[in-house]
Symmetry: C2
Amino acid sequence: MNFEAYNPTRLVFGAGSLAKLGEIASKYGKKALIVTGGNSVKRSGVFDRAMESLKAAGVSAVECSGIEPNPRITSVKRGADIARKENCDVVIALGGGSAMDASKVIAAAALYDGDPWNLIAHGQENWAIPTQALPVITVPTLAATGSEMNCGAVISNDETKVKSFVSTECLFPKVALVDPELTLTVPKDQTAYGVCDIITHVTEGYFNGVDGTPIQDRFAEGVIINAIEWGKKAVADGTDLEARAQVQWASIVALNGWVQAGVHMVPPVHMIEHALSAHHDITHGAGLAIVNPAWMRFAAKSRPERFAQFAQRVFGLTPDGKDDLTLAMEGINAYVLFLKEIGCPTTLAEVGIGDELFEQYAKDAALVVHDEEGNLLGRPPMNEKDIVEVLRTAL
Amino acid sequence: MNFEAYNPTRLVFGAGSLAKLGEIASKYGKKALIVTGGNSVKRSGVFDRAMESLKAAGVSAVECSGIEPNPRITSVKRGADIARKENCDVVIALGGGSAMDASKVIAAAALYDGDPWNLIAHGQENWAIPTQALPVITVPTLAATGSEMNCGAVISNDETKVKSFVSTECLFPKVALVDPELTLTVPKDQTAYGVCDIITHVTEGYFNGVDGTPIQDRFAEGVIINAIEWGKKAVADGTDLEARAQVQWASIVALNGWVQAGVHMVPPVHMIEHALSAHHDITHGAGLAIVNPAWMRFAAKSRPERFAQFAQRVFGLTPDGKDDLTLAMEGINAYVLFLKEIGCPTTLAEVGIGDELFEQYAKDAALVVHDEEGNLLGRPPMNEKDIVEVLRTAL
């Protein structure tokens, strides 16, 4: 257990807290760039309420709209150009993970003279890791990525079909303004994909961290148990504010560094999913619902006792004389049943992906997070053949 | 669930990390005030190692030693005077909770012209809550108070026999440098009192927070389960570095705001214990071992289902048709058994406290944290008669 933990983002959480946006933003400047995705924030009235709050606090705003579900580096460039041209002091992300991730990189790119793609890890020798950024305020409208309270961002390059990440301290949002009311209108399928994303953030560390982290284990299990319980409720009734609040809270703690402190996690499932969604415009959470169980079945073989613990503590399954691997597989089956119950796809066929590009995905997945032999980091490390094997079981 | 969460302290955790002190301190200045308690850091060689690390990094240091186990405002004044006279840039706490708490208030008092006692809550009308402080680095040598990574401090006034607190953002340490090796020499009794302190920080929020915090419940239970498991090991064998590291980590998460985020905790047990240890020089953790079970038996009567959950999830007890209150009491009994097993006192008689000043303690306990009628805040709120009743059951 040797590690650092640091997260200076101020979290302001609660139903109705959107009304505080102007007051909060005014601490960081006079002019804001508001980064949004599709039209849902306009239709729901959230955009107008945000603008009113800013106006009342004397903060003017320009918009960078149309951030894609898998945000592209071209959109980051566009946003950074607006921020510079309009002399914006602060970047406000109003949307899901894509708007938040784009906002962080826009905030860094606005203060960086080179090509913004240099800021993103993609196997280049001289990765220009950002050292400064405009202040960012995140206002999530979806409970999923946890991007609201961490310093990571995932960006896609449509030209090279590479989807990769950056994670560095200057990208921590100053404030995460989290109002679960904003998620009340999220459709059932996106709600479910969000829940799957939340759970996968936790399972990555739980299954791919170091040994000897029993407190973090309990934290992780607690988040998963509640994401399952309240996720079902939020999918069943989108207007259930308590369920929405619990899922939103789970999304934050799943990836703000608390559950993973000292775990030294690596995220093989995310790396494989990124390779898929760089080539196919599937929702990240849906991709995870397909890849994670397939990966779990593969990984359980080399560490059945860990997956048996998952089966017992998360799903309340009992050993009853079974060996660890049998119990482990029962736990994974229970997880797949849950994913199906909330309407997630669990096979590649369901999202129309075949095996044509498996070799390419396997190569892309190990592009950045790999060991000296080029194996994708994780427990166990995976070579390209392993990744193809996992994908094949997900067909 | 409406709340804010914020903790900008950088945690550097791990065996051997004391060697990083100089490098870390040099980021905050050229001259440090080192605040220490008794002679244990000298005897153990920790003080010399800290000085060497500082020297190697070009940081000079002056010392403020002799901070009492229940740190006094007179010591804070003394430390602030040294810091001012010697133009210290940074305050380094090297010791247990008392050195850390004193350091925070010294750091604020060094930049405050009035009487430092004004900075501490004690029922005064114009509480001078600190707004600025010198940077503080905490280096705990005991796993107990959690002061290393939070913005709170508890200070005693020997003249007025009042022990009270301050908690405000400018008192967050810049860095918590936590090296579990430094706790290897802590004696059995102090180790046990520390474990009791850790658990009580968590139970305060668990039993006195708002309803509807299921994720935080799991976090709290996870900390308690592990503090019990690893606490026993650390008491049994003080040289067990893994046990020391787990207990140290439990102490941090028990009171750095993660477990309590959104819980809106109030700490009635701490308030009652502070009233005791203001009049008697007992170790805070030992006082908590006495007061907490007595308080739990009192509070369980008004919310048995909550204490039944504690019995089930922490101690694995099963309802088997019992009513909640019966199960609750069994859980509290299990907790008392654990306290006895690690050698904590669980009655006032064991520490030589009688009932002579019960009325006074009851009055002191509700001095700051009270409702409009003067009741000590908690679930349930307690009037002076209630507090006396709890103390009487602890005789």
